[in-house]
């Protein structure tokens, strides 16, 4: 594979042809925040939190391939504030009561809030009417917390390639649902994978909860991205 040289915030980086900016940045020890992107999953460019500036234009770093000589702006105040605004929008658009949420401490949305020092959103809370569905066998789906990243739709499939999750309805009413039959046959591992791949607490595995004590959870002591940042 041919080698590509490019720049992020003035730092010389190298990448491989066909790599996206997000992937190449990671290889170079640079963190670009992501929510809908998931390692090994085809990128979808939904959440826009990875927005970077290339040649004066805003681009989703998860879908844009690196190119020779590319100059990428990433951790600049303008972009960081836009990203923070996206986090704030996701908070007010749903019903996020972190103190009651099983995902708290392991949640990527919350962790981004911490990373950006978010004290309170600049937008008014919408308190939308959303549903929690616990009628499933292996999991629960709480759409109050769903950020519609579609990681579950894209990444959770049965052994014979059937997608278990899908979106239903349109626009502001669109919600995540699972196929009840496929869902009931999910293995424990797959149910756990669905929970782990959901960035927030919208998919929860039944019969376990609050398993890790406060202080030991993923983002209790180290910020999201610190595992990548060099």
């Amino acid at each position: 594979m041919s080698k590509i040289t490019f720049e992020i915030d003035g730092k010389e980086c190298t990448g491989k042809a066909g790599q996206t900016i997000v992937e190449a940045a990671r290889d170079n020890g640079i963190y670009i925040p992501v929510l809908c992107w998931y390692e090994g999953m085809k990128p979808a460019g939904i959440c826009r939190i990875c927005t970077v500036r290339v040649g004066g234009r805003f681009m989703a770093a998860c879908t844009t391939p690196v190119a020779e000589g590319m100059i990428v702006e990433n951790e600049i105040p303008e972009l960081e504030d836009m990203r923070k605004a996206i986090v704030e929008m996701l908070f007010v658009e749903g019903n996020h009561m972190c103190p009651t949420c099983e995902k708290s401490g392991n949640c990527e949305l919350q962790a981004l809030g911490y990373r950006y020092g978010l004290m309170a959103p600049r937008f008014p809370y919408l308190f939308p009417k959303r549903k929690m569905d616990a009628t499933y066998t292996k999991i629960m789906i709480d759409t109050n917390r769903c950020v519609q990243c579609r990681r579950c739709v894209r990444g959770i499939v049965t052994k014979d390639g059937k997608h278990i999750f899908s979106m239903t309805n349109r626009s502001g009413h669109s919600t995540i649902v699972a196929d009840p039959q496929l869902e009931s046959k999910m293995s424990d591992e797959l149910a756990k994978k669905a929970m782990d791949q959901c960035p927030v607490g919208a998919i929860l595995k039944k019969e376990v909860g609050f398993a890790v004590p406060i202080g030991k959870r993923k983002y209790d002591v180290t910020p999201i991205g610190s595992e990548i940042q060099k």
Binding site: N95, H96, M97, C98, P99, T100, C101, S104, G105, Q110, G113, Y114, G117, M119, A120, P124, Y125, F127, P128, K129, R130, I214, D220, V221, T222, P223
Partner: protein, 179 residues
């Protein structure tokens, strides 16, 4: 020079944020050296007796009394801090926000299996319940927000001392949490 004056209140909260304030441990002695408390459940002063520099409020607004109290605080305090998840976004009480108020009252006072005399309380002495729970900043201007359920003692301490000394806020990562 007289000491800066602090007032506190718990509206639709559980007093957990106040507990967390006490959780600063022996720094409470330093705090008492640094500031003077006015209207607050801490000293049981019921009415403002002088202008206040920093007002700290836990809990959102779920009834008319909360609103009156909050407006009173805004009038009397130079700086107003929204303390904790309930003050900032309504918190647990706001879980009723998606349910019509009539349904809430009927469930609590008429349909609930443990109620005896089925009446929805309507005495003029009882504050009116609001249609939903409101975050403080939707009712008055708020100057600072300190999230957490409860906000970590270190966050409260750091914020208060920074405010009092005019130094920039330096919050340790572990101190900013939403749970």
């Amino acid at each position: 020079m007289s000491k800066p004056v602090v007032a506190t209140a718990s509206l639709a909260g559980c007093f957990g944020c106040h507990m967390s304030l006490l959780d600063i441990d022996d720094r409470i002695l330093q705090l008492i050296d640094l500031v003077e408390f006015n209207k607050s459940p801490v000293d049981d002063i019921k009415k403002f007796t002088k202008p206040v520099d920093i007002g700290i409020i836990e809990g959102g607004c779920c009834n008319s009394e909360n609103v009156e109290n909050l407006i009173e605080f805004r009038k009397n305090c130079k700086i107003l801090i929204s303390l904790g998840e309930c003050a900032i976004m309504g918190g647990l009480p706001a879980m009723r926000n998606g349910i019509p108020i009539r349904e809430c009252l009927e469930e609590a006072y008429l349909n609930c299996v443990t109620v005896d005399d089925k009446i929805i309380p309507n005495d003029p002495e009882i504050p009116m319940i609001l249609d939903r729970v409101y975050p403080l900043h939707e009712i008055v201007k708020i100057d600072y927000y300190l999230p957490g359920c409860p906000p970590r003692a270190d966050l409260i301490w750091e914020a208060l001392t920074a405010l009092l000394s005019g130094k920039p806020l330096n919050i340790p990562y572990e101190a900013l949490k939403y749970d």
